[in-house]
């Protein structure tokens, strides 16, 4: 009985509804406890301040006066959560595997690294210009029925549909 329960929670992938409910509850819970909006990407500004010589930049100075703010702890927690998930499911350790990318795109490690770095660069730059990401705009913003977040999410989806289909057709041979 306990073994089956462990298996369901820590080993098997969860059904979509379990994830949807928990992630959705974070929005009102973070307001209830901290009067704070759910959001991840803003915290990357803290990481810029920590890792890169950017303290002289006005935007960093004004928006990130507290370097080690709650946002850094939230980011640390998400990393820790992924680690716990991996460890308890018995998949602890580093892997160069990345799903269909490593299975279908015959690129070496260097080209792959450049590819993912480029994707990340667009995510970081785009999130700041858009004012938020999947959590801040799509989940928090639409939950609060903000038109700006609905429009931003439509653009997120259009961008993703274009690039993912281009990659599927050009680099993955159209396969799925």
């Amino acid at each position: 009985m306990i073994a089956i329960l462990y298996e369901r929670i820590f080993v098997d992938p969860w059904p979509f509804w379990a994830g949807g409910i928990i992630i959705g509850l974070l929005v009102p819970l973070l307001y209830y406890f901290y009067n704070t909006a759910l959001g991840v990407s803003t915290g990357y500004g803290n990481l810029v301040k920590i890792f890169l010589p950017a303290r002289h930049l006005q935007w960093i100075k004004t928006k990130y006066s507290e370097t080690w703010s709650w946002r850094v702890y939230f980011i640390g927690g998400i990393i820790l959560g992924g680690f716990i998930s991996s460890a308890l499911s018995g998949n602890l350790g580093f892997t160069a595997e990345m799903g269909r990318f490593t299975a279908l795109v015959g690129w070496g490690a260097f080209a792959g690294a450049v590819y993912f770095f480029t994707g990340g660069l667009l995510l970081g730059l785009g999130a700041r210009i858009a004012g938020g990401c999947t959590s801040g705009h799509s989940i928090h913003g639409i939950s609060n029925l903000h038109l700006s977040s609905i429009l931003a999410t439509i653009m997120f989806l259009i961008g993703g549909i274009i690039s993912a289909n281009l990659i599927r057709i050009t680099l993955m041979g159209g396969a799925w």
Partner: protein
């Protein structure tokens, strides 16, 4: 409860959930955008519905939130370039198979390519900070 410790805890729950439901899986994000796997459409869609119901209950209770302050919902305003930025974000989402939250779960799971997405995100944010010096409307 100390806010930083609280966010460490909620972050851990968030990262654990993203990982368990497969949001940190490259194939599930690719699959969503090419119309082959709708798991994440279900996750995001249900999260929005649950979040919206929760927020309505919180607003209607008309109680101050826990620390005594009145509820203050932050709305993101769109600037002149915001939707273009959202398009760039979307392209990055489709390429990397990750978003700013799920890439962090990938780090915890030990996915090496996720580290490059992560460093790219920090660098992209840095480029924004540099651009913002000269173009305040960004």
């Amino acid at each position: 409860m100390n806010k930083k410790l609280g966010f460490l805890g909620f972050g851990t729950l968030f990262g654990f959930t993203l990982s368990r439901v497969g949001a940190s899986d490259f194939d599930l994000i690719m699959g969503m955008f090419v119309g082959r796997d709708y798991t994440l459409v279900g996750v995001i869609g249900l999260a929005i519905i649950v979040g919206a119901i929760g927020m309505q209950l919180l607003k209607r209770s008309q109680r101050p939130v826990k620390n005594g302050e009145p509820l203050k919902i932050s709305e993101k305003k769109l600037g002149p370039w915001s939707l273009l930025g959202a398009g760039l974000f979307g392209i990055g989402w489709g390429l990397s198979g990750a978003c700013p939250g799920t890439v962090l779960a990938q780090l915890g799971e030990g996915k090496i390519f996720g580290f490059f997405t992560f460093f790219g995100m920090i660098f992209g944010t840095y480029i924004y900070a540099r651009l913002k010096e000269k173009h305040p409307s960004l």
